[in-house]
């Protein structure tokens, strides 16, 4: 059995908005093993990024972890003090953000920004910081690191900025990298380059990656395990082969179905009809799976994950639905 590096259990995160409380993440559980790439997939607003920010305890000021545990290398991160969390951030767990343009300070030279993590964690003597930064720049594929070192982010392309973010994230050689949609703002040719860099680091260091994405193509290529998220819930989880071969939850099916297939010729691209989402009749249920919507009139009814086959979990409202599924 593989060694678990991160284990999130029953995580619930809420946000205060004008005296109302809104659950952004509800009872999310996931596990990442050493050397594994785990994909967290779902549409915008499904709670993927909030889950990842909870791991680093970097939620916005109105966000709060209501319950659950986040265990990293045997330590419950929720119980850690801010000082301890600072030692973990960047050093043991680092994060690559999706918007490379916004994630770099426009008024600071790239070289200075790359060495920030090394400086905080005092991993390299001050005199060697520049040398280390140049090596990192070379590692992420820059042919002229010394030139890039003294440039401002505005002088770099989107792909270059994203590589700088990767250099920052791997600077302290963390055991876990959280990549929050690292290729969203990049064109397809650069996307592969960036994902390959993350994958290369993972292989070289036997590190783990939590890959947050909404692109099943990326999942198929890089992930070992997949968690599908919707409306703050995990609705399906399995290894990547099972998810593609035997998706059970209608939302997973719809996501896979929306991948363009050149063999379908001129058939229109499938989309997820989310008008049901806005329908007040669903009383806040974020998704009404077609197969059992007739059965489940009370959409507010609690739902839970059922194991439909070994290590393949799907969210249902009750056991009858699982049985009816056959």
């Amino acid at each position: 059995m593989n060694q678990s590096i991160l284990h999130i259990k029953d995580l619930r995160v809420s946000f205060n908005q004008h005296k109302d409380k809104m659950n952004a993440v509800t009872d999310v559980s996931l596990q990442i093993d050493k050397g594994q790439t785990v994909a967290l997939i779902g549409e915008s607003g499904s709670g993927k990024s909030i889950t990842s920010l909870s791991v680093l305890k970097l939620l916005p000021s109105n966000g709060k972890i209501e319950k659950g545990t986040i265990t990293f290398n045997g330590k419950d991160l929720i119980q850690q003090s801010e000082t301890n969390m600072r030692k973990i951030r960047g050093n043991e767990i680092s994060m690559i953000f999706q918007d490379a343009i916004a994630s770099l300070n426009p008024n600071m030279k790239v070289g200075v920004q790359i060495t920030e993590g090394l400086k905080y964690h005092k991993l390299v003597p001050k005199s060697d910081l520049k040398q280390e930064a140049l090596q990192l720049l070379e590692q992420v594929g820059f042919k002229n690191p010394s030139h890039v070192y003294s440039q401002y982010p505005s002088q770099l392309s989107g792909g270059m900025k994203q590589r700088i973010l990767i250099a920052m994230a791997i600077s302290c050689k963390p055991q876990l990298i959280i990549a929050d949609e690292p290729t969203t703002s990049l064109d397809v040719t650069i996307q592969r380059q960036v994902l390959d860099l993350i994958d290369q680091y993972k292989t070289d260091r036997d590190a783990s990656v939590l890959l947050i994405t909404h692109d099943f193509g990326v999942v198929a290529e890089y992930a070992d395990w997949v968690y599908v998220m919707l409306g703050g819930h995990i609705v399906e989880s399995a290894d990547v082969f099972t998810i593609f071969k035997n998706p059970v939850h209608p939302y997973t099916k719809a996501l896979i179905g929306s991948i363009p297939n050149p063999e379908n010729g001129q058939e229109r691209l499938k989309s997820i009809k989310d008008y049901t989402f806005e329908n007040v009749g669903y009383e806040g249920r974020r998704f009404a799976p077609e197969t059992y919507s007739y059965e489940s009139k009370a959409f507010n009814a609690p739902s839970s994950l059922f194991e439909v086959e070994p290590l393949h979990y799907v969210r249902f409202f009750n056991e009858r639905e699982v049985i009816s599924l056959g």
Partner: protein, 311 residues
């Protein structure tokens, strides 16, 4: 930032004027080759060659150029030049501490909306600052006379009142600005690398705020100058005043002379004689106006710089 500002002609002109005024104010006795004590002495009467009295203070600019004298016969030109350093330095100190305190308080709790403070600011928005300052300063002056407070203690307490009055609206401004910066992705990225709050504040937040801080500082200097002028009219002098008896024993005329030589004091001590000797008020007022104009030029230059940064 400094290099960018130096490329703004308005900023440079304004700054040069203020700098020249300050230098002149510090070194005018040697630059004009005059004796400071002699130049600032009281000159009650003008005599002819035979020692006959030919005129009494206040003397108009036509009799004693360039600006005439005040009611006690002190030459306004030397008073204004000598008072420039006190006026500008007092305004700069007030503005500096207002900015320092408000940024410090905001950074102590950057997540707070300071909503209670916003309510107070909104409620006091329509009360002129001079009235608020007058209420506190007047009470302080009364107390200083009763307790025979020292000159330096009085100045410090007066400065604290003037600083305190300007801090709440600034906190409200800074809390919005700092919150916006702290929500930027690159700040979250820096925290995700394990940085300390202090590092983020000094390396990311304050440099980002620097031009804005400079702009607000210049605006605060202007506001402080205006406030000082208003307080002068209300006969509130920085550092207090001493009373000089003019006239004769049959018709004594008490005349308050400010202990610090700033411009507001010159206005305040002669305001009641506005119609009889308008030049006494108009001279320091004109200097206030010119200095504020120079500061406004600097503000304009900073704003141009901010616009350039945005584009």
């Amino acid at each position: 930032m400094i290099i960018k500002l130096m490329k703004q002609p308005q900023f440079v002109i304004g700054m040069l004027f203020i700098a020249c005024l300050l230098i002149f104010s510090f070194y005018w006795p040697s630059l004009l080759d005059v004796n400071k004590k002699e130049s600032l002495k009281l000159l009650d009467f003008l005599y002819d060659k035979d020692g006959k009295v030919i005129g009494a203070a206040p003397f108009p600019p036509s009799e004693i150029p360039p600006f005439g004298t005040d009611l006690a016969g002190k030459q306004l030109f030397y008073q204004v030049i000598d008072g420039a350093k006190y006026t500008i330095i007092i305004a700069i100190v007030i503005a500096f501490f207002r900015i320092l305190f408000s940024v410090g308080i905001t950074l102590l709790n950057p997540k707070s909306n300071f909503s209670y403070l916003n309510d107070i600011v909104q409620a006091t928005l329509y009360i002129p600052t001079a009235i608020l300052a007058y209420l506190f300063m007047n009470a302080l002056l009364v107390k200083s006379e009763l307790d025979s407070m020292s000159f330096s203690k009085l100045i410090v307490l007066q400065a604290l009142i003037l600083i305190g009055i300007g801090v709440p609206p600034l906190i409200s401004t800074f809390s919005r600005e700092i919150k916006t910066i702290l929500n930027r992705d690159y700040i979250i990225n820096t925290f995700a690398l394990g940085s300390k709050k202090s590092y983020v504040y000094f390396k990311h937040v304050l440099p980002e705020l620097s031009t804005k801080l400079f702009l607000l500082f210049a605006q605060q200097v202007i506001q402080s100058l205006i406030l000082l002028a208003h307080l002068g009219v209300l006969t509130i002098f920085i550092g207090g005043s001493r009373t000089l008896m003019l006239g004769d024993f049959l018709d004594p005329m008490p005349y308050n002379i400010p202990l610090a030589g700033e411009w507001a004091g010159i206005i305040g001590m002669s305001f009641s004689k506005l119609q009889a000797a308008p030049w006494v008020i108009l001279t320091p007022l004109s200097f206030f106006a010119i200095t504020i104009f120079a500061l406004n030029l600097m503000v304009q230059g900073i704003q141009n710089c901010l616009e350039t940064n945005k584009t």
